[in-house]
Symmetry: C2
DNA sequence: TTCGTATAAAATATCACAAATAACATATCA
DNA sequence: TGATATGTTATTTGTGATATTTTATACGAA
């Protein structure tokens, strides 16, 4: 792993519901803790959730290799639940089967970057427009609160940065109200995560997000202007892809 | 299963590359048989491919229950590769974990139908526009050939119908050139498949597709008119969802 | 020194089986 | 008769063992 000395492997507490009610298919009882369906959480899901978090916050870098035994040791389970979690990540494009029975984070490839950019812009902008059309004032207040909290935190580590960015985006997409598209966006972000690692740990460790685009999205949503919200989102997404694009074209 | 007496479980030959070169990430050596990477295909992938086909051609109906042991017996493997294939289908939304340790095809729900419709229209129309912008004349000739072949076949079974429809669509989306979006569309069709079962085996066993929209897509593409192609595609997709929508609202 | 072959090590894929869990059937009680 | 308790059965989930494949290493021959 490329982060042995930089960040801890994410240790989400097992009782943590992650993004809470950001999900568009959140249970109706979501507002009352403990009143969701009583359902055991199996090891496979627990392992997957942790790997998912790790991917989305950029714990893995493009080209990294993974190994079922090491992961099983780390999670203190047998190989099977790890394998099932990992197979799912392969299906979602976050990992590939590399030659030699290896599991690998897809290496940096310009064609893939372009493809992912296109997919993210196409789908996330669609869902942003949907969110603008559906948003109630309290939804936007919540987005504003997430932004305010992000701004008030200081100093910012890359993890803090990425976590609040992710929270903003997924709250927004949750408002869009499409569980199907929300899930698809999650899989896109799983693929995107290693590129975030590249930006924050290789390209420019001092880079910090500007919240300007996020503010514009909220303002546009308050005006019911889905076109403007879309534009702000596209600008936001494009910013990081431009950095990555330049990096792939830099002679090295 | 709802089809015990209607159709055979799809038995794709193991050497069959499925849609062949329709995939946008087809190997560069695709034009020369046998010169792709030499790579063993494991049981898990074989099982998954067959289940994928089964889903897409509407072998399963909304609400069907599946069972690992039965599937393992049918595929003549142990449970493990079946389990891994099935977990993937769960991740893709084609199956859900039902209460009581069961695996279930998601039941018919209007909200889900609407969500899937929206996702399909949003994403597939985007890829259609991309395809129009990228298509070479021979690509369109190929689409035309698929259509001609579909028309010349008679009589048409639902399976023939669905297979040629699928071939048309996926060839079109492959021309779009985005492996990421292509894979997403596949997962949408996995979810859509059981609704096809409903249309062809419950709602109207005599229904047959009209190729009119497909023809319009090709004509628009020849004119380089991505807007018209988009409209034709949206009409095509909407047609079946309208039938399903009416069915869910019919008092029964 | 280079190349070919054999062997060992490492990693995944599959299998067999035990444990956990939920549903169902049956018996008992009020 | 309906409600509750208990036992049985079916199915998934997780563990550990085994099989298979790939890579690394050692050794001998040219």
């Amino acid at each position: 792993m490329s982060q042995e000395n930089a960040i801890e492997f994410p240790e989400a507490s097992f009782g943590d519901a992650g993004m809470g009610s950001a999900r568009p298919d959140a249970e109706p009882g979501g507002g009352m803790p403990g009143l969701g369906p009583a359902r055991p959480v199996n090891l496979r899901e627990l392992v997957y959730d942790q790997l998912k978090d790790a991917f989305m916050v950029g714990y893995f870098a493009p080209g990294d290799y993974l190994n079922l035994r090491e992961l099983a040791d780390r999670f203190e389970t047998s190989i099977t639940p790890v394998r099932e979690a990992v197979r799912r990540l392969v299906a979602e494009g976050a990992l590939i089967d590399a030659p030699g029975r290896a599991l690998r984070v897809p290496p940096l490839r310009r064609s893939r970057l372009i493809d992912l950019r296109q997919a993210r812009i196409g789908i996330e902008s669609m869902v942003t427009e949907m969110a603008v059309q559906r948003a109630r004032p309290q939804d936007l207040d919540k987005l504003e609160a997430i932004l305010d909290e992000a701004v008030s935190k200081s100093p910012k580590s890359p993890i803090d940065e990425l976590t609040s960015n992710r929270k903003f985006h997924f709250t927004l997409y949750g408002i869009g109200g499409s569980p199907t598209l929300f899930r698809i966006i999650e899989s896109l972000w799983l693929q995107y995560g290693p590129f975030l690692n590249l930006i924050h740990y290789t390209i420019d460790p001092n880079i910090r997000g500007s919240h300007k685009d996020h503010r514009r999205i909220i303002a546009a949503a308050r005006d019911g202007d889905s076109g403007a919200a879309r534009q702000a989102l596209v600008a936001d997404i494009s910013r990081s892809f431009d950095i990555l694009d330049a990096y792939t074209q830099k002679p090295r």
